[in-house]
Symmetry: C3
């Protein structure tokens, strides 16, 4: 039962807070868990005050006793470090130890994540409790994995604590070595920014107008590095005491450098609380975390059984029957584990309104029967899941953490309504692939491109030499690369490339930037592949460098009338397709879908399925090499998927004819194809 192997028994878990309930109820809880098919429990997160009620007096005895009971019952434990919930003795009367907002306001005890991990006193206390946990539970036979902290930065972002700012100066010095190099790189002659020493470079505190994007992006990079180092430091301590794999649980919307944070984790995990309409976002995270650690399963560490909620807000509750298809979609995508937050409704505090399997008063809650249903389906599919892996994908979208930072510094909007949000944009491209029936990865910027035939890289302002080199090799060997809007128009320091509008990308794509300008509000539209759509966002109007580069999309009006916004150039055995303005609305999505279909064909993408919208195919490859599909209706409307040949229903063993296979609402089917 090692999560680091690709194929393993699927785990079905819950978050559990045994210290909040009478000890007498633990046995009953464990019995109920077993009945429900729960075989994993996560605990320890936020229990620092239980473990170290007064400073330095640490005991893990309570949690160890619970682990013993769980182990006896055949339930594995994931143990978390509790550093997201500092006890009162750490910060009381010490605002200087607290996380500090841009304007200097220190956070107060009373919630979560209020301590500054950059403060040396806080850091020491964190590592002391981590060490104690490693020593106490690291060898426990029931321990299956360790989790570091919990959702780092889920409520906060950049820490302006005095010690963070000191570290910022050291980080800058390490990066630039001399202040002249920083001045040169950021062109600080602008607005008389010029610095004489590193300690003068401000954190982006309030100013009358904007800071330089070079500075705000560097500051983001620094803060993401700092929090990753905090995570690494915990992992190093834990590894001294335990050989179980270590993870951290995050979410697409948290301000982290995901590639960096997972670098030193043994496997990747994420939390997501989609309502039933948001399943595409969940699938995107599956496609991203599966790719994060190639060859390793990922985990869904938290999801709600019925609805997300806290004192000030809640999401709509899931429709009946939704939870099982959601969970199976995760397993089918490559999750080893799906775990719920939480076992029993919070009896107090800000999260009382969140759904759970049991109510605070100990009765089955809205999610109880749904979890049962997951177990039933999981049991049906467990042989398949344990005996197969997700089929390798041929198509991927790039996730660039640097791209995300840069787009935050410079969202290039016409107004608030048009600001370009990196994450939403990548979600959109992912969704277009999903709707096209193209199984897909979301791959980090430095990930290998092995196995891919089509790669899409939108909104990555800075294209590094390393990335370009890798893509060049990929294309030369026959791959098709779609470079999307705003890719390549900034240097690595978020300045304008001085050699050409798109820097080195121009030569590779066979184009020349004529104008770089905002096309929103000009009424301009573009034509490509027989479709027409309004253009929006920032536009790099292009001309082809030579006859090899073909103009696929032409701007049809406005200041750049007649220039190109989509080009296509053969390079080696493959192609570089450049999209340099965003086609908008339904027409725009239709145009992009055509382009994707066209490029997939050119790239000889072979894995593609045909299904009605809302019905998703998860292709698997068995150890035997034979192919199987898990097909799930996720929009609750039912649908069909087309089978190109005869198939066999894996659960019933019955044969299925070629042609359209109908799924009822929230139906889950598994079929052997060969």
């Amino acid at each position: 039962m090692n999560p680091a192997t690709t194929i393993g028994k699927p785990l079905h878990g819950v978050s559990y807070y045994p210290d909040l309930w009478p000890v007498s109820e633990i046995d009953r809880d464990i019995t109920l868990m077993r009945e429900l098919g729960i075989n994993m429990v996560r605990m320890g997160d936020f229990a620092w005050a239980k473990m170290e009620p007064s400073e330095g007096k640490i005991s893990l005895d309570f949690h160890l006793r619970v682990m013993d009971k769980l182990h006896v019952a055949g339930i594995a434990t994931v143990f978390c470090t509790p550093t997201a919930g500092p006890p009162i003795w750490l910060t009381h009367n010490h605002p200087e130890r607290c996380f500090t907002l841009t304007d200097g306001t220190p956070m107060s005890h009373g919630s979560r994540q209020h301590a500054s991990y950059d403060h040396p006193y806080v850091r020491t206390a964190c590592m002391r409790i981590v060490e104690a946990i490693g020593r106490s539970v690291g060898h426990h036979p029931g321990l299956i994995a360790l989790q570091i902290d919990n959702e780092l930065k889920c409520h906060v972002d950049q820490d302006f604590n005095e010690f963070s700012i000191k570290a910022w100066h050291a980080w800058l010095e390490k990066r630039f070595r001399t202040i002249d190099q920083l001045n040169e790189a950021w062109c600080t002659g602008i607005w008389s920014m010029r610095y004489e020493r590193f300690d003068q470079v401000p954190a982006p505190r309030p100013t009358p107008f904007a800071h330089s994007p070079s500075l705000t992006t560097a500051w983001q990079e620094f803060t993401y590095e700092r929090i990753a180092e905090f995570c690494d430091e915990q992992a190093a301590i834990l590894r001294k005491h335990s050989s179980v794999p270590i993870t951290h649980n995050t979410h697409l919307y948290f301000p982290l450098n995901f590639e960096r944070i997972f670098r030193n984790m043994d496997f990747a995990s994420f939390d997501d609380y989609p309502n039933s309409a948001q399943y595409p976002r969940l699938l995107m995270q599956c496609d991203m975390l599966r790719a994060a650690k190639p060859g390793k399963s990922f985990w869904v560490m938290e999801t709600s059984v019925a609805h997300n909620g806290w004192s000030q807000n809640h999401e709509p509750a899931h429709p009946k029957g939704y939870l099982a298809p959601q969970a199976i979609a995760c397993y089918a995508s490559g999750a080893q584990t799906v775990a719920y937050w939480l076992w029993r409704q919070m009896r107090a505090g800000a999260e009382m309104p969140h759904s759970a399997i049991l109510s605070s008063w100990g009765k089955p809650a809205l999610g109880f029967d749904e979890v049962k249903d997951v177990t039933r389906r999981l049991n049906e599919l467990s042989p398949l899941l344990s005996n197969s892996v997700p089929a390798p994908t041929e198509v991927a979208v790039t996730w660039s953490d640097t791209g995300r930072m840069m787009m935050r510094s410079e969202p290039l909007g016409m107004n608030v309504a048009h600001k370009i949000d990196y994450t939403l944009t990548i979600e959109k491209w992912h969704r277009l692939l999903l709707e096209a029936g193209l199984p897909r990865d979301v791959r980090f910027e430095t990930a290998s491109l092995k196995g891919l035939r089509l790669l899409i890289t939108p909104y990555m302002p800075s294209v590094t030499e390393a990335f370009l080199k890798q893509v060049r090799a990929f294309v030369e060997q026959g791959g098709v690369w779609i470079a999307g809007p705003l890719t390549g128009h900034r240097t690595s320091e978020q300045t304008v490339p001085l050699e050409a509008g798109l820097g080195k990308l121009e030569e590779f794509a066979g184009v020349e930037t004529v104008y770089s300008f905002p096309i929103s509000g000009t009424g301009a539209s573009g034509e490509a592949l027989g479709a027409k759509a309004p253009l929006s966002g920032w536009c790099v109007a292009l001309r082809a460098r030579d006859d090899e580069t073909r103009v696929i999309g032409k701007i049809g009006s406005g200041p750049a009338d007649g220039l190109a916004f989509i080009t296509d150039r053969p390079v080696g055995r493959g192609r570089v397709v450049l999209i340099s303005a965003e086609p908008q609305g339904e027409q725009g999505e239709a145009m992009l879908s055509s382009l994707i279909a066209h490029c997939a064909e050119v790239a000889n993408v072979t894995h593609r399925y045909q299904a009605t919208r809302g019905t998703v195919v998860f292709p698997r490859v068995k150890q035997s090499g034979r192919r199987a599909w898990i097909v799930i209706n996720l929009d609750g409307k039912g649908g069909t998927v087309t089978l190109s040949g005869k198939a066999t229903d894996i659960v019933s063993g019955k044969p299925i004819d070629a042609g359209d296979l109908t799924l009822t609402p929230y139906d889950v089917r598994a079929v052997d194809l060969d």
Copy 2:
């Protein structure tokens, strides 16, 4: 002329700031007041700097001379303590004496309510001026009442002054005695909140995520207690020097515990500045303040003659003819006094745009003729008003100050648009009763239920044992209790009851909570009494415990399909009706109206009238025991009211036939029924 008796001569008053005008104009003002029928003047509020221009040098001589003149003219005086307007010497260069925002920002001199009443120096200065007022004016023959401060907390809410926080710790210690009991009550194991000492418990300063609702509600309770103590302390000093009744003027939207603030007042008063469309809110306050001090008249201490306004905003001006029906509606509801803010338009400062009877340049302003009209109508009705009291009501809505605090801590919204606002919700239930023609009280949580046949208690998360005991007795004796949505789902410490979803309420109502979840966004609807409506907000889906409990409303779709949201159980000679989800929109209001009508019938409510919407009946009982109605058209559209038998017009003395009596727009009629 004692406002503490139920029946007294109606008073017609104004707010007056004689110190802002040349002394020479006071006599002219008084003459004009008499001509207009003004027989009460309120003054002293905000005049602290006039009374004590430099620290410790106090003289009330100016105001006493004005009182003398008024008294000679037959105009009674209400004198206010001026503590809402601290002089410059109190806070200049002393930010630590000032009211402090959540983030630590101290308020500055330059407006009102900027001092911290929790600061000992400020407190001492306040009580010194109060004592001087008591001593100087307490025995003046023209004095009819004393008002403490002015609209406490109208611009501010919770004070984070250092001394407030010290008092918070003492208050917590008094309430919980040991820190362990606090930790237990709030379940501070959650998020490692656990405290070692009371002085560690934070005021809800900024945190990365939400504070515990247990803490934020306790903090509200504490701050409301503090301000009530400030009010009490003033009252105790004044009582040493005067025997006139003491009041404080507040408004439905101010952050106070109304029940607590009025406990030690001799009579209740309120300010309201409705525009003409907002008369239902005004009537609700009448129904609430009449019930606040049973057997005592209430006062409307401030309302505008034409429009509310200040430098940054204004309300629409009243239509012609609106002021008189508004004023008579207040008298008819049980007000002894209606007073206007203000006599003469502010000649400077932030309130210049507010309407007055006289303009700053001394001419009749927009409200002048309207006030004359009030006097005329009042004279016509004065015999009736002096000789009768509002008929006792059989129907009431509960106003729970604790409920309001809890709903602020935990508004349980799906998003901002759906946040449940306690006050607006109670206003809605009050309006449904108004539209149903059911004369009504709004009764505080601990008020006696004497005389009632139907009680409605929505959105009171914590049902105390005392409240339940009282309601049980009420029901057993034949009353019908409608417990509305979200009533009973929290303990007194705003945690989840561990015995059952609705705690002790379940047994009483004969129900069992199956699911407690947000039904907003699920598309669920409910059916009851032949009507169908979408359901929204938080839903407690129920099943009946036994055959005695009848399901009246059934959930028709969604995750709780088939469960109950309205139940009805006979208890003793009465009934408990539980509504556990909110029917929404027009259909929802129609359903609730049907339910109210049904329950009123079951409860044998006899006082009910039939009138078109916008026309309101105010039933009165004469000292002789005979019944009379004051009927007012308040929406300016005219309407009809149905007389079940012959009646007599009180003003004209003419007989009126049974059947529909027609009212012209803004008509006011008074009829003897017997």
Copy 3:
């Protein structure tokens, strides 16, 4: 080539930042500028750190060398003081030297305008660099003008620095002499504001409710005076070293007292970045700055060649062909210079997304060809422009800086949507004149009324005796004065006049205020000149004092039904027309247009042209006294203008028939009329 003369060679300029680019590119830039027809370069703004890289070590050598090169190429230089971009050594570790927000937050280095010019250390450093500039470049033969700072207050408004507040107290003392006079003037008895000493008067720091408008307006006046003194002090130093004219560049929306700021400037200039739909705002600024310094040309110091933009936002890019008509409209309005920001796209920093003539990579950008087009048209029209001046206007709208301050203190809105914005309101009146074909000035409050026949003064709450005296003389000599809504209802200290609702204006206009109240939301409408329109905003309902005053507009419903809102009174040979409520919407604009047409006729306004909307006539008078028109289509839709007689096309020399002359989209025509 002296900009202080009315007629001069038109200049065509750019902003240039040579220190941001390799020295080797300067010669290429200059060559390109010449080719494009650029004959003016502005520089020095924001280059403080280049000039004084460490404290006290000042050298202007770099910029002097660039000026030498430009001079040789025949390109004149405008040199700016760089005080908007303080170097790091000035504020690092010195938050007390920084601009401070209302809540006390000091601004940080990292952007612009973060230093407090009221701090003595900052002030000294500013004047030292100004002195060095004067000494170094003041006599350079290429220098054509000096610019002080750059867009003062464009990102900030009122400075709450400790030294600003000290200066506030001194300013108050100078103004009021004794604190009793301040107390009396502001009626500080209200809310116990009363002050014992000047140092107690707060800057408008956060308070629970509003400050007195008297105080907030005085504070605005003070801060505008302070920044003007900063500007004056620089000018005085520069004048010691140079005889070239001095200017400052501002924009309609910046928080300055424009009349005060230009008082000590030698000529007026402004920056504006309209998108193509916003040309009326640009024309308004032309009409205002032409009038600011009578007999002197103004400059357009900055405008974009294609689109405005910075990291967080951008405007829509100009349509093709728009730039030239925009530029010619400015020259035709009386601009000597139109200059672009900027020559070459920013290669880093927050303004990378702003358009330029060259891209950062040195290629022609979107505006390149447009600038060429401007040069071409300018060459065609240069003889006319050099040989004529804008025809004197007969019509003007008053711009009252005090009015603007007062409306900010007391916007008298019904809610946010209805807040009265002074600037937008004046823009509206200006636009109505533009659409009426009436060439117009926007004249400062104390400007001479010489040459005018019709003056419109809306939203000037306080009418000073000096203004009234001047207007009275104007009217008596035959002028027509339209006093618009809210003019005259406050004293100079923003209190209510105690003699009458509109103070001394009432006698002059022959009216009496009956009611002053907000008419928004009452549903009232007004009738005038055969038109009917809803009324909104604040209404002063009037009655005529005697038979001489004629009621033109009558309120038709609501609380002031039957009273007047437009009156007309003959005074001497002219007339006073008073509008005391704002007719709203399209109907309201139609009514106001009729009134303007009527008044222009009564006033014998002779300069009027007839053109379709979007086509604008700029009348010029040649040195010979003969008349010429420049006619421009600015909305890109084309249009016609009516020629009353035969004319001659100035560019082609061909005759044009009387009647309608057709313009193509963005057409520019110049015609001799006589």
